[in-house]
C-alpha cells in the first residue's frame, strides 16, 4: 500500500518534470536550422537587421531556412552564461576580455581573435558625450566632465562592458595628454566624484539620463548616442564628440565546442563572415557603428566625424592587464571610492 503510493508520487513528479523537459525539446525540434547569438545590450537593433539580411542571404545561397535566436544582456553576464552552459553558437560581446574568459573555460581556442579579419571585430565604435539641448554646461572635452558642478551619468564598470570603455577612454585621454598615470588617476577620481548613479548597464544609464532627467552629460557608445537622438528626440539632446577618444572594438567569435555539438560550424562561420560583406557593413553603418569597409565608411562619412582614436593596447597593453589593474576587486576603480 505504502509502496504503491510512493510509486504514484514519484510517477506524477517525474511526469510533471518530463513535460517540462519535453516542451523545451519540442521548441528546439520544430525550428529549422537555428543559431544562437549571445550578444551585449546595445546591439539589439543591429542584429535584428543583420539577422534578417543573413537569413535571406543564406536562403539564396543554400536554399536552407535558418532562424537566428538572440540573447542580450550585460556583456560580462552573457559571457558567464555561456561559460555556465548557455549554448551559444556565436558570441558577439562588448570587449575581448569577456571572450577571453570564455576561452579560458575551454569552449573556444585561445587564439580566437586571430580567426577573423581586423582582430575579429567586424565593426568598431567609440565613446562620445550626450548633453541636453543647447549644451548648457558647455561640455566640449573630457576635462569638462571633471569640473565642479557638472553631473555625469555613466554605468558601473564592474557590471557593464560599455562602462569600462567609458572609463578607459577618459583615463587614456589624460594619460596621453600628460604622460602621467598619477595625473590620470586624479582625473578619473574627480570625474567619478561627479557621477551620482552607477547603473548596472549602458541601457540603464541612458534611461537615467533621459527618463529620470538626471545628469548634465551621458558618456555613451557612439551608436547608442545616435539611438538616443532617434528615440528620445533630437530636439532634446545633442551629441558632443570629444577631440580624442578610444577605439572600441567589440569582437565576435564562434564557440567551437557548441557548434561541434550542434553541427552548426558551417552556418556559424558563414554568419560571422557575412558581417564583413558589403551588405552587412552597410547595415552596420546605418546603425551608427563604424564599419571596417572603406566603401561603407565613405558612403556614411557624414555620420562618423573624424576624431582622434587611440587603441586599448596603445595605453593599457591589453584587455587582461587593463581589467586587472583597473576593474578587479581592489583595483584603481575601487580605490576611487576608498574614503
Amino acid at each position: 500500500m505504502k509502496f504503491h503510493t510512493i510509486k504514484k508520487i514519484t510517477f506524477i513528479t517525474s511526469l510533471l518534470i518530463s513535460t517540462g523537459l519535453q516542451s523545451a525539446d519540442a521548441l528546439a525540434a520544430t525550428a529549422p536550422a537555428t543559431l544562437l547569438n549571445v550578444s551585449y545590450d546595445p546591439t539589439r537593433e543591429l542584429y535584428q537587421s543583420e539577422n534578417a539580411a543573413f537569413t535571406q542571404y543564406w536562403h539564396k545561397q543554400t536554399g536552407q531556412s535558418v532562424v537566428i535566436n538572440q540573447s542580450h544582456g550585460g556583456s560580462g553576464k552573457q559571457a558567464r552564461a555561456v561559460i555556465d552552459g548557455l549554448e551559444a553558437d556565436v558570441v558577439t560581446l562588448a570587449l575581448a576580455y569577456d571572450i577571453d574568459a570564455i576561452a579560458d573555460s575551454g569552449l573556444l581556442s585561445q587564439d580566437w581573435q586571430k580567426k577573423l579579419a581586423f582582430n575579429s571585430t567586424p565593426y568598431t565604435s567609440t565613446i562620445v558625450f550626450v548633453v541636453r539641448k543647447g549644451n548648457p554646461k558647455q561640455i566640449r572635452n573630457w576635462d569638462d566632465l571633471a569640473k565642479q558642478g557638472v553631473s555625469v551619468i555613466t554605468p558601473n564598470p564592474k557590471t557593464s562592458g560599455g562602462a569600462r570603455w567609458n572609463y578607459l577612454a577618459a583615463w587614456g585621454y589624460k594619460q596621453k595628454q600628460t604622460g602621467s598615470t598619477e595625473q590620470a588617476k586624479n582625473f578619473i577620481k574627480s570625474l567619478y566624484r561627479n557621477v551620482p548613479v552607477l547603473d548596472t548597464g549602458a541601457r540603464g544609464s541612458t534611461l537615467t539620463f533621459t527618463q529620470r532627467g538626471l545628469g548634465d552629460v551621458l558618456i555613451a557608445w557612439e551608436n547608442e548616442a545616435h539611438l538616443i537622438l532617434k528615440e528620445f528626440g533630437a530636439d532634446k539632446y545633442e551629441i558632443v564628440l570629444p577631440p580624442v577618444s578610444i577605439l572600441a572594438e567589440p569582437p565576435v567569435a564562434v564557440v567551437d565546442k557548441n557548434v561541434a555539438k550542434h553541427g552548426t560550424r558551417k552556418l556559424a562561420d558563414a554568419y560571422l563572415n557575412f558581417l564583413y560583406t558589403p551588405e552587412a557593413q552597410e547595415i552596420i553603418a546605418k546603425n551608427y557603428y563604424r564599419p571596417r569597409s572603406a566603401a561603407a565608411l565613405k558612403k556614411y562619412a557624414a555620420n562618423f566625424p573624424n576624431i582622434k582614436l587611440f587603441t586599448i593596447n596603445e595605453v593599457f597593453g591589453n584587455w587582461r592587464s587593463a581589467q586587472k589593474t583597473h576593474f578587479n576587486d581592489g583595483g584603481v576603480f575601487d580605490q576611487i571610492y576608498v574614503p
Partner: protein, 277 residues
Amino acid sequence: MASLTRKKRTILPGFGLSMGYTVFYLSAIVIVPLSMVFLNTLHMGVQPFINAVTSPRVLASYKLSFSAAFFAAIFDAFAGFLVSWVLVRYRFPGRKLLDSLVDLPFALPTAVAGICFATLYSPVGWLGQFADKWHIGIINTPTGIVIALIFIGFPFVVRTLQPVLEELEPEIEESAYCLGATRLQTFRKILLPHLFPALLTGATLAFARSIGEYGSVIFIAGNLPMKTEIAPLMIMSKLDQFDYAGASAVALVLLLLSFAMLLVLNGVQDWQQKANH
C-alpha cells in the same frame, strides 16, 4: 528516537511517508542547492574568504542592506498595523478591494515595481518633482531603497497580523472601558501585548525578505560604491569578474544572516504560541 516519542502521542498513520517525502523534497529543492554556496567557498582558504567578505565595500553594502531593510520593516510594522486595523475593524465601500490589493507586491514582478518607483520618484516623475522642489533626494539615495523595500515587505506584516486581529474579540476592549480604562491604556495594556508577537513575526519576515531584495532596488538605488551599493549587487559584480568563489563567500554570509534571522523568528513564534495559551 523521533518515532518513539511520536507513538505515544498519536495513532495517525503516514509519519514515515510524509516525513520521508518532506525531507527528500526539502533536500532536493532547498538544502542541496543552497549547500553549493558553501561548497564553492571551501577551496578558497580562510584568509581569502575573510578578505572577500570584509572588504570595506562589502561591509558598507551589508550595512546599507541591513539598515535599509530595518527602517523599511519598522515602517511596514506601523503601516501594516494601521492597514490591518482598518481592514478588520471598519466597514466602508471598497474595503474588499483594498484587502485584495495587499497581495499585489507578491505578484508584481520586482523589476516592474523597481521601474515604477524609479519613474515616480525621479526629478521629473509624478512624486519626485515635489521632492526635487524642496531639494529632497529620493532616487539614488538610501531613502529610495527604503521606499522600494517598504512595498516589498508590507504584505508580510498585514497577512500575519490580520488573522490574529480578526480573532480578537472587541468585547475584551469594551469590558476594559467598562472597568474605567482609557482608550490609550486599553491599547497599551491589552491590545498591544496580544498583537505584538504577530507584529514582530510579520516585521521580521519583511526584514528578512528585504535584506536580499535585488530587482526592485537596483533601479532606484544609485549603486555608488560605499554609499548606495546593496549586498546582492556585490554578489553580482563579483560574478561579473568571474569570481565565483568571492560571490559565493558574500552569498554565504548573507545566507547565514538570513538563517539566523529566521531562527530568531521561530523563537518569536514559539513565544507567540505560549502567549496565546
